[in-house]
Amino acid sequence: MGEFVMPSLGADMTEGTLLEWLVKPGDEVHRGDIVAVVDTDKAAIEVECFEDGVVAELLVPPGTRVPVGAPLARFGDGAAAPAVAAPTPAAPAAPAAPAAPAVASPLVRHLAHTAGIDVSTVNGTGPDGVVTRADVEAARVAVPLPRPDTAAPGRRVPASPLARRRALDLGIAIDTVAGSGPNGSVTVADVDAAAAARNAPSTPEAEATHAEAPQQPPTPTVTVPAETSAADRNAAMRRAIGELMARSKREIPHYYVTTTIDLSAALSWMRDVNTRRPVSERLVPAALLLKASALAARAVPELNGFWVDDHLERCDHVHLGVAVSLRPSGLVAPAILDADILDLDTLMKGLRDVVTRARSGRLRRTEMTDGTLTVTNLGDNGAESVLGVIFPPQVALVGLGRIVERPWASGGMLAARPTVTATLSGDHRATDGHAGSRYLAALDDLLQSPEKL
């Protein structure tokens, strides 16, 4: 039936490394299921499939770097693989074993597994009480999101992207490494320690091999990417950023408009809300700024969309890209989907989630490709203003500087107010400075009524 190819995860991506398969031949997959993790030069991204079917063959082993569009797996319609599917239908046919949870497919089990859900506790709504994907999803929603407790065997090992890459580079299976990080997550140091432990006893062997013959390179099951060291990783990311930004500056005639916004209403409202809340539910100014940015995009829709084939394609939804700086350096701009319709608390959770995943976990394909407008928010330690470079194919970028207390004249009176300098970089092919000005005016307006955000 179909081929599953290396997807393009952003305008700057030309090739990617297949990090991990989440399915195996014989697994039934449905459109939207996450089937693989792909490493771009910027982040580890979870990639879903686009059709229903059965995995017929995995063409590319983990660790392989391939160009965008290269086939990664073949999917069949399931008819070709009845042998694999056979055991599952057999299970519901045997009512003698009611204790055994009936699970529709390996994928459902996998889903439950990764969500940290015990399938036997899930109420099955399928035929004969079979637990379906929807049941797991429902259970997943019912369970509090982070489940950073002791990992069930076979559960995906928490590890930073850096640690994953290091493990890959060193040819070490990440799930064999004992994690010493928060919640048992695997750190780079853990991987190095595991590598050292592996190498230490094997040294004599290696020497022996060396002495014996040049006949066999050590089992090349993992195709190690050309770039190996952290310095090379960093160079790859700089190159990816450089290529995208160069393209932006080459193709997009940028214009810039700037305004300074009084944040005293927004911040005092937020402080008031936060004092009544536990730490875990507190808001940060960025959440208010992002929500206002998303709503302002709805007010000036010609800034929200893509420049494709010499014309502007507006988007009905606002998927707000958020530029996240990575440590020690680098940048990735995943999108908070539907940021304009999320309530403030949900957006705050989404922000924390996406920033955490950008830095230490994984992003999803849609977050990398579907952003319709991006905000770069310099935050507390940043400069006072930023004139940003637009992420193609988007047509505008909002820049927010550090919140600064400034003398503020209002109604003939002078007072000290917390302010933010907001800028809008616009694509002159799509709009003029007038649109940018209207956007910033809308942003200002929204931030004066924080309770409506």
């Binding site: 928060p182 004092t275 536990p278 730490v279 875990s280 440590r327 924390r352 920033v355 935050g379 507390d380």
Partner: protein, 86 residues
């Protein structure tokens, strides 16, 4: 909670937020958010982690009072349930 315990809790929390930074190299009297390049979300995570590990909830109004590692440790010690309850 004594200063040693509070220092350990801070080191553990910061270690999980910014694992690449060696806490020992951070000047105890310097503004650590700048030194360690922690943004507002990082700081919120820190406050949350410390609340979980020490039981001390740093009020938002008090954020300005915990700008250095020294003042943060002092805050935890003086607000710990044991210290005030004893």
């Amino acid at each position: 909670m004594n200063p040693t315990e509070a220092t350990a809790a801070v080191a553990a929390a910061l270690g999980s937020i910014a694992p690449e930074v060696d806490i020992a190299t951070v000047d105890g009297d310097a503004p650590f958010r700048e030194e360690m390049d922690l943004d507002s979300l990082d700081f919120l995570n820190l406050v949350e982690l410390l609340h979980d590990s020490t039981g001390v909830e740093i009020r938002e109004d008090d954020y300005a009072r915990v700008g250095s590692l020294t003042t943060l440790v002092d805050y935890l010690v003086s607000h710990s349930p044991v210290a005030t309850g004893a």
